[in-house]
């Protein structure tokens, strides 16, 4: 019996001594750690993608608290993370629009690519572009070894039946890993609200570009889109039309005139025309002044009207109307 008591007493006293020792040490060597850092670290997705420019999620959490880093840099976390972080820090959330990747090439599938030779080397784009400027005829187009898919940490790029890379808008977080992975610089991060894209990166002259594109959708540098654009968002850069997404209003006018269909407008069918609800219109003429195609008529202090024939559905008037009385129908 005594041996049981002895063992209980021995272990109990040992534990007590150690406990007191540790408690004393933790008081004496106490380190203040900002609890906010841990809280923010838990909110962040923990994939360590590096989109914020710091080596990992915990480094970003520390930077936010200790160095006043901006809180909207986490692409995978998105708006949800920003809001929670703002709550933890007690500041106002400044969300920035979600960006997704867009591949500026419509070639590169099994049956829409012209080949120079049958490439059988190492299966990476970086290796493929080294040999006589790549296996495909176009020197600017996709070389279909799918480095972007390998680089994507979110499983957001898939191959369709034709072997074309399709970006899943839901899964894409805009981290930019594929942008870095593409040796032809075909991929760009674009705000998700922008719908119209020039899906060609060829700087070849018109005839040459057309001849080399297996999809027959090369930008031939004709400049029609530049003339048609109501907000001057398109610029010719060395035989290639490039959209300035800051100015672009996704009206789709450029796509409607593009002779080679290198400009793609997925919402062409869905686009409506502006309609002014007459009761609320105060005749301020702001919409009239802002309309890029002069589709709105009316005089000061009188109800304005939209000419449905001219309206291109760009929604600029919807956004500028102070009474919020313009709808797209």
């Amino acid at each position: 019996m005594s041996i049981i008591l002895y063992s209980i007493a021995t272990l109990g006293i040992l534990g007590l001594i150690y406990g007191i020792g540790l408690a004393f040490a933790s008081k004496k060597f106490h380190v203040e750690v900002d609890p906010k850092i841990e809280e923010i670290n838990e909110v962040l997705p923990g994939v360590n993608c590096g989109a914020c420019g710091l080596p990992g999620c915990s480094a970003y959490a520390e930077a936010i608290v200790t160095r006043n880093e901006e809180i909207n840099k986490c692409a995978p976390g998105g708006d949800a993370a920003v809001k929670v972080i703002a709550k933890i820090l007690g500041i106002k959330a400044s969300t920035k629009e979600r960006q997704i990747a867009v591949i500026h090439c419509q070639s590169g599938g099994y049956d829409n690519t012209f080949l120079r030779y049958n490439y059988q080397g190492i299966c990476t784009c970086k290796a493929a572009v080294l040999i006589t400027q790549g296996p495909n005829l176009c020197n600017y187009g996709c070389v279909f070894q799918n480095d972007c898919i390998a680089a994507c940490k979110f499983d957001a790029i898939h191959l369709d039946k034709n072997g074309m890379r399709i970006i899943d808008k839901e899964k894409c977080t805009g981290c930019g890993a594929c942008v870095k992975a593409c040796p032809r610089n075909l991929i760009e991060l674009v705000p998700i609200s922008k719908q119209v894209h020039i899906l060609c990166s060829s700087h070849d002259k018109g005839a040459e570009a057309k001849k080399r594109c297996g999809n027959k959708t090369a930008c031939i540098g004709c400049g029609l889109c530049v003339k048609k654009c109501p907000v001057e968002a398109i610029e010719m850069q060395d035989n290639l039309a490039v959209i300035d997404y800051e100015k672009c209003v996704s009206c789709g006018q450029c796509a409607s005139v593009c002779p080679t269909k290198s400009i793609v407008d997925p919402i062409a069918e869905k686009r409506g025309t502006a309609f002014i609800i007459e009761e609320n219109c105060i005749g301020c003429t702001i919409c009239k002044k802002k309309c890029p195609v002069d589709a709105i008529e009316g005089e000061v202090k009188k109800v304005h009207k939209v000419d449905p024939e001219k309206c291109i559905g760009c929604e600029i008037c919807v956004n500028v109307c102070p009474k919020k009385t313009i709808e797209i129908r």
């Binding site: 021995t10 150690y18 040490a25 106490h30 380190v31």
Partner: protein
């Protein structure tokens, strides 16, 4: 003189012939986990040397002056683990205050020493080999040295491996396992030493 030669033999045995990691296969977790970078491997090694020496000291005292007189030898494992855990906790608290950079580099591996079988192993071996107090402390120190040696060797090799061209499927853990095996084979050569 006899004592010095005995200590020398003990050092050779603890560091090379019966190396804790590669011959006794104790403490494999930090051996694979913390051997990615040379400086954190060095920090981990220092922590292990410190903890092993301290653990040898305290567990020997507890065994000789507490457990044996009270005839409670069967409490050896639990009493030793209690001692080691408290010791590691103490080391962690002190390092966090005095060397934050080292604390950051070791991260979660410091608490892992708590349940590291190498530390418990050296404590129990000291008792089984019936070492004297001084010998037990030195044995703990040498065992830690041996652990640090292979950890640093491994970290050096793995840093070189990171820069070399390895097939994608072998990168990281697989090649580390193979390297660990090769190192164990090399250390097997020391078992031919006659001491």
């Amino acid at each position: 003189m006899e004592f010095v030669s005995k200590i020398f033999a003990m050092a050779i045995v603890a560091i090379f012939v019966q190396n804790f990691v590669l011959m006794r296969f104790l403490g494999l977790c930090p051996y694979i986990g913390v051997s990615k970078k040379l400086d954190s491997a060095l920090g981990m090694g220092m922590a292990v040397i410190f903890v092993m020496t301290m653990a040898s000291t305290f567990t020997w005292l507890i065994q000789s002056y507490l457990l044996v007189p009270l005839k409670l030898e069967f409490l050896q494992t639990i009493a030793f683990i209690l001692t080691i855990a408290s010791l590691v906790q103490l080391v962690e608290i002190i390092i966090q205050k005095t060397a934050p950079a080292l604390y950051k580099a070791l991260g979660m591996f410091l608490p892992l020493i708590t349940t590291n079988c190498a530390v418990l192993g050296v404590a129990i071996l000291n008792i089984n080999e019936e070492y004297s107090f001084i010998e037990a402390i030195l044995n703990g120190f040498f065992a830690g040295l041996g652990f640090t040696l292979v950890l640093i060797l491994m970290a050096g090799i793995r840093e070189k491996l990171d820069k070399s061209e390895i097939p994608a499927s072998m990168k990281g853990m697989p090649i580390a396992m193979i390297v660990a095996g090769c190192m164990a084979l090399a250390f097997l050569g020391f078992s031919g030493l006659k001491i």
